[in-house]
């Protein structure tokens, strides 16, 4: 029994633990019963075979048959599988190569993205903990950088539309306009009540 066997056992247990707590993921995994997905970690010469079943997924370090699909990615690419993607977006990471059944690859990657897996710990068996740690930090930094860029773009676009292009009102103008509408509505209601009262008094004096 090698370190790799122990790593696969640990990763298998981690995935199954999360799947057991998520009924949806468990049902999706059960639908793939009888299919085999090979995941090759490029640059390490390692391939792990993932076999979903009704109760759990099994990880094998060797497989004598032909897998239904083969996913190939660098450690950096595989680490991206820990981030969920919105519905309708391709769950297979951009840099990941897929051969065989692409639909199966998509279904499988979507399930994996819904599960919290410590890929860093797994990959460290092949790349060393230092590199795996750096890969993980790079991914985290890339995530932070992406959020930062989106936020900056958002603010720049808003400023251009409001200040320079004068196409959209500013938040202050919208608030002032809204307050004006509320005041007008309130005064109209008061006027209506006065009219009703005056109309009533005139009717009684006749």
């Amino acid at each position: 029994m090698s370190i790799s066997d122990l790593t696969h056992a640990g990763l298998e247990q981690a995935i199954n633990h999360h799947i057991s707590m998520d009924q949806n993921a468990r049902a999706q995994m059960a639908q793939l019963h009888g299919r085999v997905i090979a995941l090759e970690v490029l640059g390490t010469g390692r391939t792990v075979y993932l076999v979903p079943g009704p109760e759990m997924i099994q990880l094998l370090s060797s497989y004598e048959g032909e897998p239904d699909c083969l996913l190939q990615g660098s450690p950096l690419t595989i680490t991206q599988l820990r981030h969920p993607v919105p519905e309708g977006e391709d769950p297979v990471p951009t840099d990941m190569r897929v051969s065989g059944e692409s639909e199966l690859a998509q279904q499988f990657c979507r399930i994996l993205r819904g599960v919290e897996i410590n890929w860093e710990a797994y990959l460290s068996q092949y790349t060393g903990s230092l590199i795996a740690g750096e890969v993980s930090k790079a991914i985290d930094f890339a995530g932070y950088w992406r959020d930062h860029i989106i936020d900056t773009l958002n603010r720049d676009l808003r400023e251009y539309m409001q200040e320079e292009g004068a196409v959209l009102p500013t938040r202050h103008e919208i608030d002032a306009f809204g307050n004006g509408v509320l005041q007008l509505e309130q005064r109209l209601r008061q006027l209506q009540q006065r009219i009703e009262r005056l109309t009533g008094i005139e009717g009684e004096s006749r």
């Binding site: 059960a30 019963h33 299919r35 079943g53 109760e55 048959g65």
Partner: protein, 249 residues
């Protein structure tokens, strides 16, 4: 088993017909706490041993597997996932109480559809020749009275090209490990058995039966005698456990 009609039950010599009855009593006694005891006895390592054996089985979707002495179904549960909905796992045990435990546990885990349950004596397997792609026995062969007969039967029901796997306690390779293992299994193991199942004798039997089981090379020779080819074995945890593999070619 010897020519005088006696065999060993642990370190005791008993009549050949007596062993199956005594083994049944042991497993009747431990059936309900079998999983817990396995974890305590092996410190949880039995899961890794079983995982390793399953990899060596080389199962693929559509395969038919016969699992002898299934116990509570740890191996069968894995096979069920690997052979897919088109495959079939025949889960068996000579002991009805163990088989009941195994069936209940498999159902609890949602493993239905590609598993069948049959009470089977490994020395007289009630299936036709060449039916299975793979035949396995995990931690069961040492309890069989006539091991050679069981190996012959495993060979018979395999299809040509199929393989047999035997996962069993064996003999540690190094002297220090052997000493530590003996100390643990003859002193601590019966004590754990006494505390958990209130049955010290059954666990003493387990320890003794392991010592009486053929060593790695002897078992490989017995497999070859039954007709298996390309036989090999893999020592796990320094030989505390070994997985023997042989093919019907």
């Amino acid at each position: 088993m010897n020519d005088k009609g006696t065999t060993h039950f642990g370190y005791e010599q008993v009549e050949t017909g007596e062993k199956a009855k005594r083994v049944r009593e042991v497993f009747d006694s431990v059936a309900t706490k079998y999983d817990l005891m396995n974890d305590l006895m092996s410190l949880g390592i039995h899961r890794l041993w079983k995982r390793y054996a399953v990899e060596l089985a080389g199962l693929r979707p559509g395969h038919k597997v016969l699992d002898l002495a299934s116990g509570t179904g740890d191996l069968a549960a894995r096979y069920s996932g690997l052979v897919g909905p088109e495959g079939l796992v025949t889960m068996t045990d000579i002991n009805a109480a163990m088989l009941d435990q195994g069936r209940a546990r498999m159902a609890d885990r949602g493993l239905i559809g590609n598993v069948e349950y049959v009470q089977v004596n490994a020395e007289a397997i009630p299936f036709e020749d060449g039916r299975f792609d793979c035949v396995t026995i995990g931690f069961g062969l040492r309890n069989v009275t006539d091991k050679q007969k069981a190996l012959d039967e495993m060979f018979r029901v395999l299809r040509p090209g199929g393989r047999a796997l035997i996962l069993e306690f064996s003999h540690p390779r190094s002297a220090p490990l052997k000493w530590a293992y003996d100390t643990y299994s003859f002193n601590l193991l019966p004590l754990i058995g006494k505390l958990v199942t209130k049955d010290e004798d059954s666990y003493r039997y387990l320890a003794e039966s392991i010592r009486m089981h053929p060593d790695q090379e002897t078992l490989r020779g017995m497999m070859e005698q039954s007709g298996f080819e390309r036989c090999d074995y893999h020592n796990l945890t320094g030989g505390v456990v070994a997985v023997h593999r042989g093919y019907k070619l």
